[in-house]
């Protein structure tokens, strides 16, 4: 995204909010600026025999979040991504939310697609308990994926024990890309000249159940990402996901599974699936050991991936965290995901 486009996006969102607020200026004081930032140092194994280990600093995120409480039923929020020390500018989300209908929150604009938990809720570095994205969310689901459209969500208690059911339903422009060349993460690319290249909308949703100490959910997404040049037939991509977590005192167990199927011009499908399992235990001295195992199965291909991450977090305060992890690539292949990494991260949320 060019800086000009970025500035235009910010001005459009800010202008929209200002127009709503301006008549009475009643809640202009309820604009809250927040955000998070991190500094990473990574030492990474490479496939280059001349330079087996490469190390670098990265100011991976300095993201600003703005929240506006406009009226009792209307609010807005945006997150400006300023990533990799300024190499990437983007609007991660920018939406208007209407809450005037019981059990229904309507969101219009750009939002992070609520597929499973990691993509929308757990990817920020101040939340994710281990540095680095689980490979399943780089190679099976193109996280972090946000898109433009309409999103309906809500939740309702079940019984008197804190049990709840939650739902998300959304319609968005959908992923898009070249059927023969795009990697999964490249499918997120937004084309400003023609935002929905295939003209068909993608639909998806998540149904979640929350118990006192645990929750689980099922997710789905389906839509066209391109169409064939000769016949104009839509090429589809779909995802099915399952997520679950369990909390007891300082213990957190979490796992997510994703299966993806992508139509190709050859008439075949590019299928793949993967999962991660993670355990963390927060001790009373704010030290938190973490272990995470991720596996990705590229069906019919040799370059599967398995990664075992072992690390710890130390919470300096409620807002500052140091994370250290060593990520072992367990598959013996030259696929970059299978290279070992040592990652350290200092994260601040403000």
């Amino acid at each position: 995204m060019s800086r000009t486009l970025f500035v235009r996006c910010v001005l459009i969102v800010a202008g929209g909010l200002a127009l709503v607020v301006a008549p009475g200026n009643v809640h202009a004081q309820l604009l809250k600026l927040s955000g998070y930032a991190d500094l990473e140092w990574t030492a990474q194994e490479t496939n280059d025999p001349e330079d087996e280990w490469h190390n670098f600093f990265d100011n991976h995120h300095f993201n600003l979040i703005g929240i506006a409480w406009v009226t009792d039923d209307l609010s807005g929020a945006l997150e400006v991504e300023y990533e990799h020390a300024g190499e990437e500018f983007a609007l991660e989300y920018g939406y208007i939310s209407y809450t005037g209908i019981p059990y229904l929150r309507l969101v219009g604009g750009k939002f992070i697609v609520p597929f499973n938990r990691w993509n929308k809720d757990l990817h920020p570095t101040f939340i994710s308990k281990m540095p680095g994205r689980p490979p399943v969310y780089a190679n099976v689901f193109p996280s972090t994926y946000s898109d433009v459209g309409i999103w309906a969500s809500g939740g309702a208690p079940v019984g008197q024990n804190g049990n709840r059911v939650t739902y998300d339903l959304y319609v968005v422009n959908g992923l898009k890309g070249d059927p023969d060349e795009s990697g999964f993460r490249d499918l997120r690319g937004n084309d400003r000249e023609k935002p929905d290249r295939d003209d068909n909308k993608a639909v998806g949703g998540r149904l979640g159940f929350e118990l006192a100490n645990a929750s689980f959910g099922v997710s789905g997404y389906t839509g066209d990402y391109a169409k064939t040049e000769d016949t104009g037939v839509g090429l589809g991509i779909s995802f099915v996901g399952v997520d679950a977590d369990y909390h007891w005192q300082g213990l957190e167990l979490r796992g997510e599974f994703v299966s993806a199927s992508q139509d190709l011009t050859s008439g075949e499908n590019n299928d793949r699936s993967g999962y991660y399992l993670q355990a963390a235990y927060l001790t009373e001295v704010d030290f938190e050991p973490v272990i995470r195992f991720t596996a990705v199965d590229f069906e019919g291909q040799e370059d599967d991936a398995e990664e075992l991450g072992i690390g710890f977090n130390y919470y300096l305060s409620a807002s500052g965290t140091v994370r250290v992890a060593y990520l072992f690539g367990l598959e013996d292949s030259e696929f970059e995901t299978n290279n070992d990494k040592l990652m350290t991260q200092f994260v601040v949320v403000f």
Binding site: L30, A77, A156, T222, S238, Q262, E284, A318
Partner: protein, 214 residues
Amino acid sequence: MTSQTRKTAILIGLVGLAVLLMGRPALAQESGAEIWGRTCNKCHRAQPVNKYHADEWRAIMRHMALNARLTPAEEEAVTEFLMSVARPVADASTDRSETVALSTSGRLPDLVSTDPDLASYVIQYDSLIVAEAYKRQCVVCHGAEGEGDGPAAPALKPRPSDLTESELVSEMPDAELLEFLSKGKGAMPGFAKILSKQELSAIVGVLRDLNGVE
């Protein structure tokens, strides 16, 4: 599974979801503090409740209620709780002699007539009602037995005090303890806007019991 089959399965699932939600169940009767402890700290460590001003919490809650898929009643209860224990603005009145009725959901009826002099306030309470107030506002952090192990405790930094061994509780006179509960200090928020003076003074008695001080 073919792509078309998957599409059909997903669409059927979404329709089923919509049907399921048409029969929504009854509301749970939890306090804002209890809902906050149960939902807000599952993804991330909790920010101190008195880190932000009331208006900031109102804006933040709009965003976070969407993320947590709270019902309107749950959002209102959590927002009222957070606004009630929020960091006071610099020019706000520090006069805590009058309870501000921001919250109705978490507040219990007055038990005795109001005495503006906190220091001389007479502790008179119904143990069941006070136990309810303690359960609704204190247990989420300090735990049912006051040992600092409530459901939200792991997400908090600093961790809530173990009231059974707290030197602050054992050494502080009643009037100072009442002032502490009213105004808060450090990570401990003040509860003057969410609990009546009668409830606060009665909770002083609960703290004495937990702390083993007669």
